[in-house]
């Protein structure tokens, strides 16, 4: 598909968009969506790619965001992917629309993000997220800049690298059923002895950010499915010209198209939710939006019919090739549940902060059949060591055998247990 660069939005277009959004908001509310006050911003592609890469309009600087930005931008330039919108879980809810979108694209996106805002407001996993995180993140970004000036950019970057490596290992349920072993950044904050104040601030802020983003990782399928379902229904209520109707049908079909090798969350979520409503009615649909996550949605609602309709299959690597293993719905459901478990991340338990009474850190991988990526493991242990300051151990299973990896700062060694 050719990439068409459209003219920036004129004031006239903006006015038409404002009228359209007003109508869209009215329909959404009439259909029962319950969203935050909306703040729509029209921005150029580069800005949208930046927000897409950073996940937030203002966030601390790090090379990994630059890499993500570069990737997004290049893929868009090549026509591989295109970001249409970005929406931030905040109150008021921030939605960013691409200025080069057509009016109809922006209308669809405006409807889509209303459903996201409804989801952020009502899904149980979002109940405790910080709706003012925009400000917290931008304040943190400013502190990082100060630290860079004070202790040097290299040191700050090195620590950010390490902090980002562990931040994902946050306990997603710190307030309901906290497990001190399950929250690696928290454990490090509580027990690492040599951290300077700026390092503690960075680690604890990265942890807050990870906690903020966590529910979005847990509800990707549900949230995108929800937004796709409502943008479709709202758009059907609008008085579109035949050309616009056709354009919309094409866009919608593209959003819900299957992806080879991986799941399109929009497609799976959309069909799961449609089938819930078809089987149990409108109330059940809204209840699913409130009480489910991707994991429970699939576990509770994937049916043999859906599995067949969506053409789902289990595949694995056999020799150098990816091969279809199973097309049975139970196998698919179980594989999918496993894939979604803990957002696809391994469980890493902090077992001991004084291993062998030498102040060494002992971590254990909660092995449940899938082994760790060894290359990543080596580097991640170095990152943990950077924070801990003393030898770090990780117990896992490697090639079927219980194995202990030890990082002394420079080298990582392994031995069978």
């Amino acid at each position: 598909m050719a990439v068409v660069r459209r003219q920036p939005v004129s004031d006239q277009d903006l006015e038409r968009l404002a009228r359209a959004i007003e109508e869209i908001v009215g329909h959404a509310r009439a259909m029962g969506l319950d969203f935050f006050e909306m703040r729509y911003e029209i921005c150029p592609p580069d800005v949208l790619y930046t927000f897409g890469a950073y996940g937030m309009p203002t966030r601390f600087s790090h090379w990994s965001f630059g890499k993500a930005y570069h990737l997004l931008k290049s893929q868009a330039d090549l026509g591989i992917t295109r970001i249409y919108e970005l929406v931030i879980n905040a109150d008021p809810c921030h939605a960013f629309l691409l200025e080069s979108n057509s009016l109809l694209e922006n209308m669809m996106v405006a409807a889509h993000v209303l459903a996201h805002a409804d989801f952020f407001k009502n899904n149980w996993r979002f109940r405790e997220t910080n709706r003012q995180m925009i400000h917290a993140m931008s304040a943190f970004a400013e502190r990082v800049r100060q630290y860079e000036r004070r202790v040097g950019r290299e040191r700050v970057e090195r620590f950010l690298d390490a902090g980002l490596a562990v931040a994902e290992q946050v306990d997603p349920f710190p307030s309901t059923r906290p497990d001190p072993r399950r929250d690696l950044p928290r454990f490090l904050l509580d027990h690492a002895s040599g951290l300077e104040e700026w390092q503690r601030d960075i680690l604890s802020s990265l942890r807050e950010e990870a906690l903020y983003f966590r529910p979005q990782m847990e509800t990707k399928i549900l949230n995108e499915g929800w937004a796709s379902l409502w943008h479709a229904r709202i758009m059907r209520h609008l008085d579109l010209t035949p050309a616009e109707s056709l354009e919309f049908a094409r866009l919608h079909a593209a959003v819900l198209a299957p992806h080879p090798f991986q799941l399109n969350p929009y497609r799976l979520g959309y069909h799961l939710l449609e089938s819930i409503e078809a089987r149990y009615g409108r109330d059940a649909l809204f209840e699913a939006r409130t009480v489910e996550t991707d994991l429970s949605l699939v576990r509770n609602h994937l049916t043999p019919e859906l599995c067949e309709e969506l053409g789902l299959y289990v595949y694995a690597k056999q020799g150098g090739r990816w091969q279809v293993q199973d097309t049975g719905w139970e196998a698919v459901r179980d594989a999918l549940v496993r894939q979604l478990e803990n957002c696809g991340l391994p469980y890493i338990y902090a077992e001991d902060d004084n291993y062998q009474r030498r102040g060494e850190l002992y971590l254990r991988h909660g092995y449940d059949g899938v082994e760790l990526d060894v290359t990543h493991l080596h580097q991640a242990l170095r990152h943990v060591h950077h924070i801990w300051g003393r030898p770090v151990h990780l117990e896992t299973v490697c090639d079927g055998r219980r194995t202990l990896y030890t990082c002394d700062g420079e080298n990582v060694e392994s031995r069978a247990l």
């Binding site: 968009l17 630059g66 150098g320």
Partner: protein, 395 residues
Amino acid sequence: MNETRFRIYREDWSLHRQGQMDQERHMERIREAIRANLAEVVSDESLIASDGQKVVRLPIKALKEYRFRLDWQKQNRVGEGGGAVREGDALGTASGAAGQGAGDGPPGEEVGEEWFETGFTVEDLDEILFADLALPHLEPKRQPDLTAESHEWRDVRPQGLQSNIDKKRTLMEAIKRNRLAGRPALAGISRKDLRFRTWDVARTPQASAVLIFMMDTSGSMGPAEKYVARSLCFWMVRFLRTRYENVRLHFIAHTTEAREVSEEAFFTKGEAGGTRCSSAYEYALQLIDRQYPPDLFNLYAFHFSDGDNLLSDNPRAIALMRQLLERCSLVGYGQIETQPQYLAMPYYQPNTLLSLFQQEIDHPRFVTAQIRDRSEVYAALRAFFHPGHREKGAG
């Protein structure tokens, strides 16, 4: 519809450059990673074989964000959309699959990395590779016939490329304008405030350079030796081309006789027979005396051999080498010893040209390098072109 609970904003994002800035930092880290692996990079075969335009694939380890990860290769995954898919069907090779998606999961996981690998050009490498290399014994020639261009950032103007916005000056302008208008604050940046950095082209006189490559093409120089010589010459030529606008190349192949050959023949053709190095030196001297008076040209001569020369030829070879040194800015001798018997006793071969030259010639413009495998190509390059190149040999 009195409760229209939404607003549309359009802000001026023209100064929003965080993405680009962090992208630059990412590229900087790629360069650091390359710098750490220069020896590998320099001897990369695909690179040498390329015409310099080809994008380069480099082993870059620093660019992944390392986390605790499950090994996707060892896990069952769920795919979709295969209505006709049956158990046992192949979905393509693992590497083919890696190019497909862009998200997480197994096929997409490598995409970002591969993309950055191929985004790097040989030009980018030049910058890193040659950063601290310099031409030794460079002398201003009487008749500089060419000039070198360089770009110097030393001007700021109200017009320019969007990517060259000078943020600080722009903000200063905005503050100035607001203050003049009686608003002592930074309130909105107008088009008129924008300031751009721009460059001047500085032309400095440069003489042209002449490179004479000489190589033993007798039977003992096998494909491995030629490959090493070729990759070293590749970088030497590139290096000189970054320093001179006009680089003239001559390739002299020799066995017992010397003759001028094409660049391609120089690196590919092999012959049988004995070796008389003096024949090549003699040819080079004639070439210089005929076409390139040393007071007009910067002359560089390099000779590659496996170290084997007819014993009876050695005195003449040394005498002619001394004559070359009188005319050239630099003469380099690279001894390529990739044969296993040399690896067994790498440091001292009493009968090779290298040891002979080291005993007989002590000249500030004479540099020798011993190259035992591909990883030493970079060290040889540095030996030839490093300002403090007095170190004898690279091995």
